[in-house]
C-alpha cells in the first residue's frame, strides 16, 4: 500500500514538474512573502515552488508532529519555536560555507540564543508585538498596556486581542511586571485575575483578523504585530502603534532547514536567495517588518524605512517570548482555557 502511494506521489510529482529542474516546498505564515519574489526564485533557479501557510507557531509545530515532516523543505518559525523545533530534532543543520551570503546576516542576529551559531536557521524578519489604538475613538495618552488590560471607557467593548496564549499572556505579564514562565502562585493568580476581568471589556479574540478589525472599525484598539499595524494604517485605519512603557514583545522569524527535507539543495539555494539584500528588502517592503540582513536600508521604500512601527523611540524595552518548561506551561494553558470557557 505504502509503495503504491509513494509511486503515485512520484508520478504526480513528475507530471507536475516536467518543465522545471527541481522543486521547493515552503511552509510559511500567511501574507508574509510577495508572490513576485517566489516567482523570481522559481525563474532564476528553474525550480517549481509550492507553498502552504499556517497562522501560528503552534499550528506549525502541530502539523509537523502530525506527520508533515519530510514533506516541506523550509519553514519560518519564530524565535522560541526555533528552539523547540531544534530540541525536538526537527531541524537539519548546514555549514556557513554552504551559503555564500551567510556573511550578509547582521552581526546582532548571528549568534542568537535560540540557534547558537545559526546552524539551522537564517533571519527572515523581526519586529514587535504590541497594540494599536484608533485615535478618532480615544484621544488620551498612548503609552501603557493598561489601555488593553484596564481600558478606559471609550475603548471598553471595542478591543481585539490576539488569539494565541503566548503573546496575550506575555503582554499581560509585562503589564503586571511579573516574569514569564513564573511558577509563583500569587503571580499566576494575579495574571489569571487580570485577564479574567479584562475579558469583559474585550470584543473579540483573533490573530489573522487583527488588521481587518482595525481597518473596518469593528475594533477601536487591538493587539497586533508592528508590520501588520503599518499595513492597517496604509489601508486607511486612523491608528497609532503604541510602544508601552511596561515593554513589548520582540520576535524574530527565521527560515529553518527542516529535517528530511526532500529538496535540501533547493532549500539552501532559497535561504541564500533570501539573504541577498535586494530580496530581503522585497520582503520587508511587503511585510513592513525589519530584515536581519546587511545593506537593506538603501533598498527600502521610504515609507517603510521611516514607518513609526519599525522605529521605536529611545528607551522602549522588548522581550522575547520564552518557551516554558512543561510543569509551568500547563498552568498557563489552564489560565487560557479558563479565560475562554
Amino acid at each position: 500500500m505504502k509503495t503504491f502511494l509513494t509511486t503515485t506521489a512520484l508520478a504526480l510529482a513528475l507530471a507536475g514538474t516536467a518543465h522545471a529542474e527541481g522543486k521547493l516546498s515552503i511552509y510559511h505564515w500567511f501574507e508574509y512573502i510577495p508572490q513576485e519574489l517566489l516567482d523570481k526564485f522559481a525563474a532564476e533557479y528553474d525550480v517549481e515552488v509550492t507553498m502552504d501557510t499556517y497562522d501560528s507557531n503552534e499550528a506549525l509545530l502541530a502539523a509537523l508532529k502530525a506527520g508533515k515532516l519530510g514533506e516541506y523543505d523550509v519553514a519560518v518559525p519564530g524565535d522560541y519555536m526555533v528552539k523547540i523545533m531544534g530540541d525536538e530534532g526537527m531541524l537539519d543543520t548546514f555549514e556557513p560555507s554552504e551559503l555564500s551570503n551567510f556573511g550578509n546576516i547582521e552581526d546582532q542576529w548571528l549568534d542568537v540564543a535560540f540557534d547558537p551559531g545559526r546552524k539551522s536557521s537564517i533571519p527572515y524578519q523581526w519586529g514587535s508585538t504590541s497594540f494599536s489604538v484608533n485615535k478618532e475613538v480615544y484621544g488620551g495618552d498612548l503609552d501603557s498596556l493598561g489601555l488593553i488590560f484596564e481600558p478606559p471607557a471609550e475603548l471598553k467593548g471595542k478591543i481585539n486581542v490576539l488569539d494565541t496564549a503566548g503573546e496575550t499572556l506575555t503582554l499581560a505579564s509585562l503589564y503586571l511586571g511579573i516574569p514569564q514562565c513564573t511558577a509563583d502562585r500569587d503571580q499566576l493568580k494575579a495574571l489569571n485575575d487580570l485577564v479574567q476581568t479584562a475579558k469583559a471589556d474585550w470584543a473579540s479574540f483573533g490573530s489573522d483578523v487583527a488588521k481587518d478589525v482595525l481597518v473596518s472599525g469593528d475594533a477601536a484598539a487591538g493587539m497586533i504585530w508592528s508590520g501588520f499595524s503599518a499595513k492597517a494604517r496604509s489601508e486607511g485605519a486612523p491608528i497609532e502603534y503604541v510602544f508601552p512603557k511596561e515593554g513589548m514583545i520582540v520576535w524574530m522569524d527565521n527560515v529553518v532547514l527542516l529535517k528530511d527535507a526532500p529538496n535540501r539543495d533547493n532549500a539552501l539555494k532559497f535561504m541564500n536567495f533570501l539573504l541577498e539584500p535586494e530580496n530581503a528588502a522585497a520582503v520587508t517592503n511587503y511585510a513592513q517588518y525589519t530584515a536581519g540582513v546587511k545593506d537593506v536600508a538603501p533598498l527600502l521604500d521610504p515609507e517603510v524605512a521611516n514607518s513609526p512601527e519599525s522605529n521605536p523611540p529611545e528607551g522602549v524595552t522588548g522581550v522575547f517570548v520564552e518557551a516554558c518548561p512543561e510543569e509551568v506551561q500547563v498552568m498557563y494553558d489552564a489560565i487560557w482555557t479558563n479565560l475562554k470557557k
Binding site: 494565541t164 496564549a165 503566548g166 489569571n192 470584543a203 473579540s204 469593528d218 482555557t337 475562554k340
Partner: protein, 305 residues
Amino acid sequence: MAAAAPAGATRSEIYRGNGPRLMLPVWAFIGIFLVLPVLLMAIYSFLTKEFRGGVIWEITLAAYDQFFLDRGLFGDEPPQIEWTYIGIFWRSIWQAGLATFFCLLIGFPTAWFIATRNAAVRPVWLFLVTIPYWVNLLIRTVSMKFLIRDTGPLNEFLLWLGVISEPLSLINTNFAVQLGLFYSYLPFMVLPVYAAVERYDFALSEAAADLYADNWTTLRLVILPVVKPGIVAGCILVFVPSLGAFLAPDLLGGAKTFMIGSLIEEQFKGAAGNWPFGAAAAMILLTIVLGVLLLHARAQAKGGR
C-alpha cells in the same frame, strides 16, 4: 477474469450468493474511513500526553480525569466536579438546539409553501433554496460578518431609515452566532421536511375539516404525525453539524468562548498541544451524537409498530 454468468440466468440469479462479496467495497470504505479513525481516536484518548503535542504509549485515564475533575489551577486541590468543559459542551448543545428550533420554525412553513405550489414551479423554489450552497461556507460566514458589523449595510440602512440612532452591536454576540448557524443549516431542514410534506395526502386535511377539526387540531393530530419523519431527519441534520461548528463562533462570535469544535482544535493546534485530551473530548462528543441518533432510531422503531 470473472466467471461468465450461466446462459439463461436472470440478473438477480447472478447476484445470488455473492452478497457478502459484493458488499466488500462498502465494508472496506466504512472500515478505512470511519471505523479506523474513530478507533485511533479512542486509543489516543487513553494514552499519555507528550509535551507540545504527540503521545507516549502508556495507558492512562488522565484525559478523562482532566475533563470531569477539577483539581484547581495548580493541580493539588481535592478533586471536585470540573464544570469548565461540561459548561463548554452545554453551551454548544444549547446553541445547536436553538439553531435547530429556529430552522424548524422558519423551515417548516417554507417547506409547506413550496410543497403546496404548482408542481411545475416547485423545482424552481427548491433550486432557489440550494443556490447559497454553491458558495463555500467560510465565504458565506465572512459575508454575514460584513453585513451585520457596526459599519455594515444593515446598520447603515437602519440608521438611514431612522429606526435606530446608534448602530446595533450585532457582531461578536451570541445573536450573531445563532444567525450564522441558522443561515448555514436552514436548507438541511427545508429539504427533508419538503420531501415529507410533498407526500402528504391533502384529502386527509379535508377529511379532518369534515369532522369539525379546526386548523390547529388538523396540524397537530393529522399533519404533524405524517410529516414527523421529515422533521426529525431535518432536526438531526441541523443539530449535529451545529454542535461541532466553529466557523460561526470564531468569525461571528469573536472567538471569545470555546465551543466544542474550537476546544478540540485548540488541543491539537494551540499552545496546549494536548492530543489525548482533544481525542477524549471528541470521543465524548461522539458519544452524545450517537446517543441522540439512537434515541431517534428507537422512536422510529416504535412509530413503525
